[in-house]
């Protein structure tokens, strides 16, 4: 029962991020569906969303960087997905100075997932790289989850 409620909450959160809620483009919808599936797969780990879902478009080899503040003592799961024209989206987490790679996921044909348990509360930079896109630009979506028992975190 608890899992079902959590799944519904996660799905609603993924679906309600866009300003135009009712209708989205087919590619954006693909990304939302994938994020929803990823959220459902994470239910067993008892996660809650730690921030808003970030969505956008990138051409091949282009990247975008987000700034995250992750709290100590918690475990975070960062999930990156992209539309059907994209076959590889990379997530690379750097320290605040952007000179040290903390964790990365460079998946091909599946969602990129980065897990991190920071030792101290600090800011990180998450670089989203569109590695392969068959028809530019490709839609991507990134969601950040925190294990339910962990402390508060924020995203900027």
């Amino acid at each position: 029962m608890h899992r079902a409620r959590l799944a519904i909450a996660l799905a609603l959160l993924v679906m309600c991020q866009s300003p135009i809620r009712a209708q989205v483009s087919p590619w954006e919808r693909q990304v939302r569906d994938q994020l929803q599936r990823a959220a459902e797969a994470l239910i067993q780990e008892r996660v809650v969303p730690a921030s808003d879902v970030r969505m956008g478009m990138l051409n091949t080899e282009e990247s975008e960087t987000l700034t995250l503040t992750l709290a100590s003592g918690a475990t975070y799961i960062l999930v990156g997905v992209c539309d059907a024209d994209c076959s590889s989206l990379h997530l690379v987490l750097y320290n605040e100075a952007k000179n040290y790679e903390i964790a990365a996921a460079r998946s091909v044909n599946e969602a990129s997932v980065v897990r991190i348990a920071p030792r101290g509360t600090q800011r990180y930079h998450l670089k989203i790289v569109m590695a392969t896109c068959g028809m530019n630009p490709c839609w991507y979506g990134v969601a950040v989850y925190r294990k339910q028992t962990d402390a508060q975190s924020g995203i900027q």
């Binding site: 135009i20 483009s25 590619w27 282009e62 896109c133 028809m135 530019n136 630009p137």
Partner: protein
């Protein structure tokens, strides 16, 4: 010098002076051959002023397009969200558009979109028509600048915009009363006008934003190879016509031919090397930034780097099919490699074959007419015979 030679030398010098006065242009004017009713070339200062005015008009229209993108942001987002196939049409300008013309325009735009085989596209296309009514002066700043494009950039990766000037010709094309005018095929003319107005934006809608090498190559060439999206055209190729050739008399206009770059001329003559150079010009400019906006010269034929370049990529897409064309369009490989892979042939050889479909081989070098050759040979033979006879009489003594 012998005294009897002096009148001859003087006569030759005088003739040179007369010819010089008659044929040499005044200072500051590009030398050109004047023929018949041809207008004289403007002076260098006037040419410079015209070029500056053209640049100013293009910059003005580009700024106008950027304003439109900002103003239509919400509408574009809604259009994208509704999932309606086809471009978003916006009628700008100061004058009100008659409802009948508006309907004709929307219907024609939908038809063009359908003919191109496009549905809901990843990159939204916005067509802005700067409508001018019959009462508006047509000599405004943007009137002669032609179509202007704004390609997707990092601030909006999903929108390609085109601003089409709507002066006298569009008013005529969209006038409801022309339905009864059987002199021209107005429906086809209307579609052609809109298709060419979509230009490179139709390629963006069909194949997305090109990969970095193709993007830089096309930017360096001002997108001249992608001006006419017509990859689903049926029927034969339209033969090469004005300004290079007269299909009626089947003669070349040599002035126009030799105003093309050398590679384009040798390409018309069927030399694969020339074709390769003409097609790949600009592909090696690594440092050139990608183009965000394009305001092409309205008289495009003046800057053609390849005869009929405006239809080149459209014909490539038609021949190789959408999948292979998409691989080329999106390829990270150098343009020559990617294009040859899509064509499954060397670029030069394919281009020679492509030009033969609509133009005969350009004859380069000496090509005297057969009658002149026969006459010349006969005169030479007579001269030889006369000399031989004279020589034989002398040797008798």
């Amino acid at each position: 010098m012998a005294r009897e030679l002096r009148p001859w030398c003087g006569g030759v010098l005088l003739a040179c002076g007369v010819i010089g006065l008659a044929y040499l242009p005044p200072r500051g004017v590009t030398p050109t051959r004047q023929r018949g009713m041809q207008a004289p070339q403007p002076s260098a200062a006037r040419q410079r002023a015209q070029a500056l005015a053209l640049q100013w008009r293009a910059a003005d229209r580009s700024a106008q397009l950027a304003e439109y993108r900002q103003r239509l942001r919400q509408e574009i987002a809604q259009h994208r969200a509704t999932g309606r196939p086809g471009p978003l049409l916006h009628l700008g300008g100061l004058d009100a558009v008659p409802p009948a013309s508006r309907q004709l325009l929307q219907a024609a735009l939908d038809t063009v979109w359908h003919q191109l085989g496009l549905g809901v596209s990843k990159i939204s296309v916005v067509v802005v028509i700067d409508w001018k009514g019959a009462t508006t002066s047509t000599d405004g700043p943007g009137e002669s600048a032609g179509v202007v494009y704004m390609f997707p950039d990092s601030t909006d990766r999903g929108t390609c915009m085109t601003l089409i000037p709507g002066g006298l010709w569009p008013r005529r094309l969209l006038a409801p009363e022309i339905a009864n005018d059987a002199r021209f095929d107005w429906f086809t003319l209307r579609l052609e006008w809109l298709r060419n107005g979509l230009g490179p934006c139709a390629f963006y809608a069909a194949y997305g934003t090109p990969g970095e090498p193709v993007r830089r190559w096309l930017a360096a060439r001002q997108y001249d190879l992608a001006r006419s999206p017509d990859w689903n055209a049926s029927g034969g190729d339209r033969p090469l016509g004005w300004p290079l050739r007269s299909p009626a008399t089947e003669t070349w206009h040599w002035n126009a031919v030799y105003s093309l770059p050398a590679a384009a001329v040798t390409c018309l003559a069927g030399r694969a090397n020339g074709c390769r150079t003409a097609v790949l010009a600009g592909a090696d400019r690594g440092a050139l930034p990608s183009l965000r906006q394009l305001a092409p010269e309205r008289r495009w034929w003046r800057e053609e780097r390849l005869a009929q370049s405006y239809r080149y990529l459209s014909d490539v897409a038609r021949e190789v099919g959408p999948d292979r064309f998409l691989r080329f369009w999106n390829s990270p490989l150098p343009v020559d490699t990617a294009l040859a892979a899509a064509l499954r042939a060397p670029v030069g050889e394919w281009t020679v074959r492509w030009q033969r479909r609509f133009a005969p081989r350009l004859p380069l070098g000496a090509t005297p007419p057969p009658v002149a050759v026969a006459l010349g040979t006969m005169l030479a033979a007579i001269a030889v015979v006369v000399v031989a006879l004279t020589a034989s009489r002398r040797t008798v003594a």
